[in-house]
């Protein structure tokens, strides 16, 4: 049955190719050529704009790039430190919030309500406000034993905010697992907690890896906001260099660094998803 369908499709392709006067190679050739043409036109328009010289000198100065890059790269280590530590906490806390939200029955209503209020508030308030309020406000209380370190408060603020976003991602994952899975686990005698831990959550988390990565990438960018507290992270350092030289190229250095970590992370996530799928469906005839 599968082979018959396959044969029919081949015939259709052949027929269409004959009508259009070509096969696959020609279609590919046309699309490549047109893409190249569009980009060439764009490049021409930009480089022949009246202000191009100044823009190139101001934003793409190679000498300035080389001069600023080492220091900005060093400052970038602070961004890396902040998002690495934050993400570890976020992934755990968000799971707790998501599970709290899923607790059933009237006895758990206060916990559910708290989780909902938390998620609503911290998704609603702008990130930069939370960072500013915590980073400047908390140390201003002058209570003993409260750290004044900007890195500390930056991490606290980012964790509070992103836990709210990621908890919603987890919640979507949990709800996407068919209730029959939990029913099957419960019917074997597993408690609610065990069913969640062994059956529901492993499936839920696997399903939401792409949006989890999305939020992680967002977090990486938002570490730049911690600069308002004074810490010299990559964006702050680029601003220092830019203001000193009146040249914006240092911002490009920071941009390059941010993109450089995003791309491998995205490919790594693709690999994770592919590997999980291959392992589960190896040899399956769809």
């Amino acid at each position: 049955m599968a082979s018959e369908g396959g044969r029919r499709t081949d015939l259709e392709v052949a027929r269409r190719s004959r009508i259009l006067g070509g096969g696959d190679a020609r279609t590919v050739g046309i699309s490549v050529a047109s893409t190249v043409l569009v980009f060439a036109l764009l490049a021409f328009a930009i480089t022949h704009a009246p202000g191009w010289h100044e823009v190139r000198r101001t934003f793409f100065d190679w000498g300035q790039f080389k001069a600023s890059f080492p220091e900005i790269a060093r400052a970038f280590l602070l961004n890396v430190k902040i998002f690495s530590i934050s993400e570890a906490f976020i992934l755990v806390f968000a799971l707790v919030i998501a599970v709290l939200r899923s607790l059933p029955g009237p006895v758990f209503f206060p916990l559910r309500a708290l989780a909902i209020a938390y998620a609503d508030f911290f998704r609603g308030v702008p990130t930069i406000l939370v960072i500013a309020i915590l980073g400047f406000g908390a140390p201003a209380l002058e209570l003993k034993h409260i750290p004044t370190s900007t890195t500390f408060w930056g991490i606290v603020a980012l964790v509070l905010i992103y836990t709210a976003y990621v908890s919603e991602v987890y919640r979507a994952g949990i709800e996407s697992v068919h209730p029959s899975q939990e029913a099957a686990a419960r019917s074997l005698g597993l408690s609610r907690g065990r069913a969640l831990r062994y059956v529901v959550l492993p499936q839920a988390v696997r399903r939401v890896i792409p949006p989890l990565l999305n939020d992680f990438i967002g977090l990486q960018k938002d570490t730049a906001l911690v600069g308002i507290l004074g810490a010299i992270e990559a964006f702050n350092q680029s601003q220092i260099d830019t203001d000193a030289t009146f040249n914006y190229t240092p911002y490009l250095c920071a941009a390059v660094l941010f993109v450089a970590i995003t791309i491998p992370l995205a490919r790594f996530t693709d690999v994770l998803i592919l590997r999980d799928r291959r392992r589960r469906q190896a040899g399956r005839v769809l």
């Binding site: 029959s180 099957a184 686990a185 019917s187 597993l190 469906q281 399956r284």
Partner: protein, 247 residues
Amino acid sequence: MSALEVEDVHKLFGRLEVLRGIDLDVAEHEVVCLIGASGSGKSTLLRCVNLIEPVDSGRIVVEGADITRRGVDVNAVRRRIGIVFQAFNLFPHMTVLRNVTLAPRTVLGRPRREAEGRARELLARFGLADKSDDYPDRLSGGQQQRVAIVRALAMEPRLMLLDEVTSALDPELVAEVLELIRELAAGGMTMLIATHEMGFAREIADRVCFLDEGVILEQGPPAQIFSAPREPRTQQFLARIVAAGRM
């Protein structure tokens, strides 16, 4: 002491009363088949016995213990009763072996090697040994359903509830599952089976109950129910089954 006593159980879904007073006793080692039209309450009854659905009134007693009383340990009850559903519900992120050993290891606390040993024995007994390390996606429907039954058996239940376990299978895969159930019955497992497979019910059941609109309208040995049903509605139901070529 009977394995299962169902006393005047009523169950409502919203305003719809699905079970309108079920009375049923199942003795140890007895195989009871529930037949009836869709919506007659067969699945609901099984789910009530396993406490997946709470009953609205009435009592269910399993091996002398009232499982419908307040404060009963639901998980403990479910350990003693195995249930298998129409949609196999294997855990897709675990291998077959892990599917089978999950509950014994986490609920019964069996050490890994012991749990895996027993699991492999069970799987081998039902011809699934070579599938132990595969993921459920790789198995056919019949194989998956058999794994689901093995998974329930691994908990060594005293009572097995089978809810139309062959209804979702392609016809050529049904036989292997029925074979497995036959073996279980021969081994003395107490079973309550909801099924559309009339031929099978006739062969395997000690008693057949016909459910109609939430009550057990008629029950008796298979020979009596299938050949000489007393109630007109039973007769109508069986006539429809015969007309559909399913008996």
